[in-house]
């Protein structure tokens, strides 16, 4: 890199190079010339949809080594035309957020802390508890003898941020189990 001299000051460069408004060579450096967009060196690009509000802006998700490296608006989308709002533009950080939790964690009754738990073990525990709660609060008939065949032991909240297919399996399983207390953001 060249030695720093007053002649290298941007203002001086603007005056001496004829690029008076600083929109041309005066503000370029070899470093920026050598930069390549992450989207160019990406391994692949997947078509996606923004996960925030319900406008459903088209996204292009660029990946490298099984990591998301950049998310941009998709100009092909007829309704979003390549645009993303601050949330959509920040969605790469939703994927790679420093605060993201990727471990299964468990808090025991009355405990003051989280502990790690094997995912499969957790699944077994949840399946056991599901069946037990279902039994504990099963209501076959109401007080007038009419069939209810439902349980109040299990409830669920959420669905507006997960996929249609996921909602479908959740509703199907809950209904078959007689678990009627299933709700999502649409009622809020």
């Amino acid at each position: 890199m060249a030695r720093i001299t007053p002649l290298n000051w941007p203002a001086v460069r603007q005056l001496t190079s004829g690029d008076l408004f600083g929109r041309g060579p005066a503000v370029k450096s070899q470093v920026s010339e050598d930069l390549t967009a992450r989207t160019v060196t990406a391994d692949s690009m997947a078509h996606s949809v923004c996960p925030y509000c319900a406008v459903g802006c088209g996204q292009r998700v660029y990946t490298k080594d099984n990591k998301v490296i950049q998310i941009e608006g998709n100009p092909d989308s007829p309704h979003s035309r390549g645009r993303l709002c601050p949330k959509g533009a920040a969605s790469e950080q939703l994927v790679n957020s420093p605060g993201r939790i990727t471990e299964m964690l468990y808090r025991a009754p009355r405990s003051t802390k989280w502990e790690k738990l094997d995912l499969d073990t957790a699944m077994e525990m949840i399946a056991d508890r599901f069946i037990e709660a279902r039994r504990n609060h099963w209501r076959e008939k109401d007080d007038q003898g009419r069939t209810l065949r439902h349980t109040l032991g299990i409830a669920s909240l959420g669905g507006a941020t997960i996929d249609n297919e996921e909602n479908y399996l959740a509703k199907k399983l809950f209904t078959a189990a007689g678990a009627i207390q299933m709700e999502n953001q649409a009622r809020i």
Binding site: Y52, T63, V95, S97, R110, E124, N164, Q181, N184, I188
Partner: protein, 935 residues
């Protein structure tokens, strides 16, 4: 929307909450459209509109009802459209009585249950129509009478909107509607979150039908929904009251037999496509239970659980508090922050045996046991909370394939970009595995209750990581042939569904999303290569139609109303409907066709019945069914209102769902003592940089940096009155809680003159929460909210609330509870406050507008004294008022004094025959308490 000539945005801040969608409002404006924003606050939407009209929160029906009156009185309705396509000409039963006849009630009200029997709202048995619209029992005449008192004067008095602004709004709409022009409405939760929110939307529907703006380009009512697939999760519902495709869940006592149930799902005696409801149901049952669903066993009707009432999210929260619920799954939602009455939510979590939270970050719902407000106040102790908590990290939108349905019913597929890290899994994998495990555990059970699980179809292909193939699930949602020549092939449309068990389909309105074996939601033909309908991008239900009821875009003869607004039309030569959009009508049903009397279902539709899902094929100006609180919208005040209902002696909606509980206390409304303890209105809203309860935004450094801190917006006038300083702290107190926020003094909120009184509104964004895990934290605005629900939809009334505000930070720990209690005591609040379902406490004076001001102004302080004996601790309320002056700093002295002087003046001016405040108070102690509706 780009095709609209006028856009009215009301109950939505589209530019900030749906910025990218808003480009089409900007586009319309660039093409010459007029844009009007009606909202309590001036926002970026207002900045880009031609005009901002500030409104008092909760008064929307008065404004919209006055527009209806304006349209009718000035004969500005679209006559051909209205006569041909709406039920305007229909005669209504002789038994029907309007709110104008019954002092604010429609006929059929049962004070015991707090609900209506709608049988008197039905069409006259004769089925007669009067095309001249002159018969007094026609819908048109009933509508005209109903809104006759909704005048510009009433709007000015009640909404705080000047006559000029009203004229501008009404004229903009009527000038921009008709054959050549169309207008559209945009709303969001600013309309839905009211005890009469559903009726706000109905009022707009009436306007749009009268002006002929439904089913046409640039017309309609646009719901701006707030989550990526909140539409999809309503269509394929994770909601208690429906099954996929809006099929009602059966309810014990109403649908005990299959026949009763089928009638409710789709009465075969009606016109239109809902007459085929049983077919849709059978296909769902076949998709879920396969061979176990047969004609003989009523397609496994017994396998469906039956409801025993409302099981909405808030009713379930209350069941948790009674230890009736053991386990709770949270899927990408954060009720500790995002639901109303946050304290009740968190207390409920502490009663669970186990809680499964599936999210990306450690949201507050997962950590309530260690860092919630209730730990700080000492109400909960970590070491005493028995709830087991499973935090399961979730895969995000790039780590799984699947579809979202956006706000205009368009289903869009996402491809998987990467595999999820660590223990992160998709909900698809989670529920698939959980289902397999439950089935395995119950496979040998002989208990009949386990049969629906044993027989449940659950065979989805899985990849090497254990992830089910989402397209396989979408195929089941779409539907397929079970037998015959096409066995195994996908359905191409819901019209292919059979009622004999030869086809199956999990959600009938999504039939066609996998037409021809192709994932239509994955179509991505660039917009640049298509016309503006862009029919080859994604897929919209039903049948890829982009504008619903678009038959109405053509005149009764099938010709476009105008060249400018051409969309679909009848092609006489080909003998079918054609156009730019997929026609939302039977493709070969000629405009001239008239169904034989007595014909039902699709065959019952005539060529001029565009509203093919309605029981009569017409748009409903008057709704004989479907709404539980009345066939026409009518104005009631919000539960915590500071003014009396200027129209009726009934203050608030007589069907609102009330919860009279210690943990859901309400501020007294204007006709009860203590209303002035919480003298201001606050309304909550969203910011561009955050997303609802913050689970997907407060944990991201970028977004947290952009909007780091909770603030409240107040007008300079309120700042002066309450002693608030820009940039300093304020504490906002409601009967439920108190929060602190930075003060933003801004002209964006304007005090409004309503019924002779100044109404100050405070705006509070609701994205923050107490907790240690997010990048930024703060108090949660939803803690302030109470729970009163709209009985149509069980949604809470969170957009109008009463509060007090004072300078400075809130107290910490237990002292916070003392502060909340102190204000409650000052107002004399008990669990009964505001809990009178049919509150007739007010004796209506002869001239409602003029006299209302009198009583309202004069009564605030006066009534506190008069009705003191009625309330427990009533005497204290006067003392409390004094104490209030101290605690609320500069709020006290001035306003008390001004009210006293008004009181004197107004009492003198009270109309003859009315005893003013005294009369109203004594009224409230006697016969008004009909019945509370606790659910």
């Amino acid at each position: 929307m780009a095709n609209a000539d006028c856009i009215v945005i009301q109950g939505s801040n589209m530019a900030e909450a749906h910025p990218v969608g808003f480009q089409w409002v900007a586009e319309a404006k660039a093409r010459g459209a007029r844009v009007i924003h009606v909202d309590p606050r001036f926002t970026r939407t207002s900045a880009l509109a031609d005009k901002h009209v500030p409104i008092r929160a909760g008064s929307d029906i008065v404004l919209l009802g006055a527009i209806i009156n304006y349209i009718i009185t000035n004969e500005l309705w679209f006559k051909e459209y209205v006569t041909a396509y709406t039920n305007a000409a229909q005669l209504i039963s002789e038994d029907f009585r309007d709110t104008e006849d019954l002092d604010g009630l429609f006929s059929g009200y049962d004070p015991e249950t707090g609900s209506y029997d709608p049988s008197s709202w039905q069409y006259d048995d004769s089925g007669e129509r009067d095309e001249t619209l002159q018969h007094p029992r026609t819908v048109f005449q009933i509508l005209k009478r109903h809104y006759a008192r909704y005048t510009p004067e009433l709007v000015e008095e009640t909404c705080g909107i000047s006559k000029d602004d009203f004229e501008y709004l009404a004229k903009s709409l009527t000038d921009n509607s008709g054959r050549e022009r169309t207008s559209c409405f945009v709303y969001a939760v600013g309309w839905t979150q009211h005890s009469i929110g559903t009726q706000f939307i109905r009022t707009a529907s009436i306007i749009q039908l009268l002006l002929g703006n439904m089913g046409r380009p640039g017309g309609g009512i646009m719901a701006m929904r707030g989550h990526a697939t909140i539409q999809g999760s309503t269509d394929i519902p994770t909601l208690f009251h429906i099954l996929p495709g809006y099929i009602a869940m059966p309810t014990a006592g109403k649908h005990d037999t299959y026949e009763e149930y089928v009638k409710a799902v789709g009465n075969k005696d009606q016109k239109g496509f809902w007459a085929n409801g049983e077919t849709y149901l059978i296909n769902l049952m076949k998709a879920w239970w396969g061979d176990a669903a047969t004609k003989e066993n009523n397609w496994a009707f017994d396998y469906l659980p039956k409801l025993s009432g409302a099981h909405g999210t808030y009713q379930t929260t209350m069941a948790m508090l009674e230890d009736k619920v053991d386990g709770y799954f949270i899927l990408g939602q954060n009720p500790a922050v995002g639901s109303a009455n946050g304290r009740m939510q968190r207390m409920a979590l502490s009663h669970l045996k186990w809680l499964v939270v599936r999210d990306f970050s450690m949201i507050e719902t997962a950590t309530f046991w260690k860092d919630s407000q209730e730990i700080a106040t000492g109400e909960l102790k970590t070491e005493e909370i028995d709830t087991e908590v499973f935090f399961m990290p979730a895969a995000n939108h790039t780590e799984k394939a699947g579809s979202f349905t956006q706000t205009q019913r368009m289903v869009q597929w996402r491809d998987q970009a990467v595999t999820p890290p660590g223990d992160c899994t998709s909900e698809l994998e989670f529920f698939h595995k959980l289902g397999l495990m439950i089935k395995e555990r119950l496979k040998d059970s002989t208990d009949p209750r386990d049969k629906p699980i044993q027989d449940l179809t659950w065979d989805y292909s899985v990849d090497e990581h254990g992830e089910p193939d989402a397209e396989d699930v979408l195929r089941e949602i779409n539907g397929y042939h079970l037998s015959g020549e096409k066995k195994g092939q996908n359905l191409n449309a819901f019209g292919e569904m059979q009622a004999d068990g030869s086809t199956a389909g999990g959600c009938w309105i999504y039939a066609g999303v996998m037409a021809d074996g192709v994932n239509q939601a994955r179509r991505r033909k660039p917009g640049q290569e298509q016309d503006e309908m862009a029919l080859e991008w994604g897929w919209a239900w039903p049948a890829n139609r982009r504008i619903l009821y678009n038959r109405a875009s053509a005149d009764p003869e099938g010709r476009p109303w105008s060249e400018r607004k051409k969309l679909v039309w009848w092609d006489e030569e080909q003998g079918k409907w054609t156009g730019y959009d997929v026609p939302d009508f039977p493709p070969t049903l000629a405009p001239s066709h008239r169904a034989e009397p007595g014909e039902t279902g699709v065959k019952g539709l005539s060529g001029n019945d565009p509203f093919i899902m309605q029981a009569d094929g017409k748009g409903w100006l008057f709704a004989p069914k479907g709404m539980v609180d009345g066939p026409m919208p009518t104005h009631y005040e919000p539960p915590e209102s500071h003014v009396g209902n200027p129209l009726y002696p009934i203050q608030s909606s007589p069907t609102r769902v009330l919860f009279s509980r210690e943990d859901n206390l309400y501020a007294p409304h204007v006709r009860e003592a203590g209303n002035d303890v919480y003298p201001y209105v606050f309304t909550t809203y969203r910011l561009t940089e955050h997303h609802t309860a913050g689970g997907m935004s407060r944990f991201l450094p970028y977004l947290s940096e952009l909007q780091p801190e909770l603030f409240c917006e107040v007008s300079p006038e309120l700042a002066e009155e309450a002693g608030l300083v820009n940039g300093e702290w304020a504490t906002i107190i409601s009967p439920r809680s108190a929060i602190e926020a930075r003060v933003m003094v801004t002209r964006r909120v304007k005090p409004l003159q309503v019924l002779g009184r100044t109404i100050h509104q405070i705006g509070i964004p609701y994205h923050w929460a107490q907790g240690d895990e997010a990048v930024v934290s703060g108090d949660s605005a939803n803690d302030l909210l109470g729970l009163t629900l709209d009985d149509n939809v069980q949604i809470q009334d969170s957009k109008h609330n009463a509060a007090a505000i004072r300078p400075g930070r809130r107290p910490r720990g237990e002292d916070l509870l003392d502060l909340i209690d102190k204000y409650r005591a000052d107002a004399g609040i008990t669990v009964d406050t505001g809990m009178v379902q049919l509150d007739r406490s007010f004796v209506q004076p002869e001239n409602p507008l003029q006299a209302e001001q009198t009583v309202v102004d004069g009564s605030n302080r006066g009534r506190a004294t008069i009705s003191a004996g009625r309330k427990s601790g009533g005497d204290d309320s006067e003392k409390g008022s004094g104490a209030m002056t101290e605690s609320s700093g500069s709020t006290g002295g001035d306003s008390d004094e001004s009210k006293s002087s008004k009181h004197t003046k107004e009492t003198n001016a009270a109309p003859k025959g009315s005893e003013g405040p005294t009369a109203s108070s004594s009224g409230s102690t006697s016969g008004d308490t009909e019945k509370r509706k606790d659910r």
